[in-house]
């Protein structure tokens, strides 16, 4: 049901019955390694291209979420997925493997929550009972697509971010117990005129702030109503800016309740510059780390705000600025059920 200007409230409780997370070697060396289902030590996954490796980790994340729930791929009614490669081929090829009715999404790094919001909408409206929502990114394919060859020796500035190699999938069901989605806020495009693709944090921070503000306004809530508000991939630079912007807009931002997936996924001594980024970043941190913490009872209500920079290599070369977006989904766990 629509509430306020741009938020949906899911009164029928779409449940996240299981999740699957698969990551690459760099993430496996990070502080959240124990929260992920599968860790790969090889960027290639024995495939002959990075694009195929990306498809493979997405397939594995989907398989993992299905096997955890004790379901088969035939049980998926709708599959919602997206990534950053041209024409989102890794998602479409994974959908070929799953042979489930498929909706391909592109929301850049906000795809994880875009898929979860739409999946929840399908369940809540009764148009489906089992929906698989996924997002994937691979460091080498994204670097190739948006920046320079991976082995190119260009010096990156400290505001740059490291694209996460990882895939996260969440299986939504109308039946279940435990963690469910309660609401979602669909973001609008915010463009503050930043045009440097090595400074995504600054570009995306205002979009995150806009969506958080809209969510709080539409639902009449504040930071006090959530145990954690976590943004997708702002990194250290963007996180600081977003926090200061929220304070400027008159919010009190408790440090222990506001975090970022891009900061959590890598430790400070890993050479990831400002932090992690990519579709897979918010997907694996949310579906791995956050879900685990909720199950342990450390967190009860979480708002995940996945941020995306909707640029293309072409728009960047033509000196266009970077339009950004953020989608928020709130998760809640009911221990009594």
């Amino acid at each position: 049901m629509l509430q306020g200007h741009q938020s949906w409230v899911f009164s029928n409780r779409p449940h996240i019955i299981s999740t699957g997370t698969v990551v690459g070697p760099f993430e496996a060396n990070g502080p959240l390694a124990l929260d992920f289902d599968l860790l790969h030590e090889d960027m290639w996954l024995e495939q002959d291209s990075f694009e195929k490796a990306e498809r493979r980790i997405l397939e594995q994340a989907c398989q993992k979420s299905l096997s955890k729930a004790g379901l088969r791929k035939e049980d998926i009614q709708f599959f919602l997925s997206g990534d950053l490669v041209n024409q989102i081929t890794p998602s479409s090829f994974a959908a070929r493997t799953l042979s489930a009715p498929y909706i391909g999404l592109f929301g850049a790094c906000s795809t994880s929550m875009e898929a979860l919001a739409l999946g929840s909408l399908i369940i809540d409206s009764g148009f489906g009972h089992t929906v698989l929502c996924a997002a994937v990114s691979h460091n080498a394919t994204v670097e190739k697509q948006f920046r320079y060859p991976t082995e190119y020796g260009g010096q990156k500035p400290p505001t740059a971010q490291w694209t996460v190699t990882g895939a996260g999938a969440a299986l939504l069901s109308s039946q279940g117990t435990g963690i469910h989605t309660t609401s979602a806020t669909i973001g609008r495009i915010i463009d503050m005129g930043i045009s440097d693709p090595f400074n995504m944090g600054s570009a995306m921070a205002p979009a995150a702030v806009d969506t958080i503000t809209a969510h709080f306004r539409d639902l009449g809530v504040s930071f006090q109503d959530y145990d954690l508000v976590i943004t997708g991939d702002l990194g250290r630079v963007g996180h600081t800016i977003a926090r200061d912007l929220l304070i400027k807009h008159g919010f009190s931002v408790p440090d222990d309740r506001f975090s970022d997936c891009g900061i959590l996924i890598f430790s400070e001594n890993q050479p990831a510059f400002s932090g992690g980024s990519g579709c897979g970043c918010s997907a694996v941190v949310t579906y791995g780390h956050i879900i685990n913490r909720m199950k342990k009872g450390e967190l009860n209500r979480v708002l995940v705000v996945a941020t995306g920079a909707l640029l293309s290599p072409l728009s960047y070369q033509q000196k266009d600025t970077i339009p950004c977006i953020a989608h928020a989904v709130s998760l809640e766990i009911n221990h009594q059920e």
């Binding site: 002959d48 291209s49 990075f50 694009e51 190739k144 320079y148 060859p149 991976t150 082995e151 190119y152 020796g153 260009g154 010096q155 990156k156 500035p157 400290p158 505001t159 463009d191 503050m192 005129g193 930043i194 045009s195 400074n199 600054s202 921070a205 205002p206 630079v237 600081t240 800016i241 200061d244 912007l245 050479p271 400002s274 000196k319």
Partner: protein, 158 residues
């Protein structure tokens, strides 16, 4: 250019950009210049050693030893690129590894490796000069202009 860009921004965008800029970590220019100077100088010193070696061991002259020296440096840079070491070294060294001929070799080798999965013709062949191409185009063109000016001046001056 940056001034021209600023003019098209709205006051809100301009305000945000200065807000964001004050919170962004800056590149350390002094430190980068120093490492670039030391690393770039060391690569040139290595080149000098190789050149002297060719003169001393293979009987090249000062003029002819240049070509095999450059070939050795290009080979080393391409090898290190292939082994996946060069980009990590370059992140630290900055312009120190980008400016000498090793940087040029790295742009070609890295692009060739990157596009290998798309095949030899359209992948490697079509993309290996992706980064190095502009350097060649504008290098050749500016050499042509300089040669033209020199020719005109010498013919005028006699």
């Amino acid at each position: 250019m940056s001034n021209q860009k600023k003019k098209t921004l709205t006051p809100v965008q301009q305000e945000y950009q200065s807000f964001a800029q004050s919170r962004e970590p800056k590149r350390s220019v002094v430190h980068n210049c120093f490492t670039a100077f030391v690393v770039g100088g060391t690569i040139c010193l290595l080149g000098q050693f190789i050149q002297n070696f060719f003169i001393w061991q293979f009987g090249f002259t000062k003029e002819t030893a240049g070509n095999p020296t450059v070939a050795v440096l290009i080979f080393l840079a391409a090898l290190l690129t292939g082994l996946g070491v060069y980009d990590h070294f370059a992140q630290w060294a900055g312009a120190g590894t980008a400016v000498p001929v090793t940087g040029f070799a790295n742009t070609i080798a890295s692009a060739a490796i990157e596009h290998r999965t798309e095949g030899f013709v359209l992948g490697v062949g079509g993309n290996m000069f992706k980064l190095a191409g502009p350097v060649i185009v504008f290098g050749v063109f500016s050499a042509f202009v300089v040669a033209l000016i020199k020719t005109i001046l010498t013919s005028l001056g006699g």
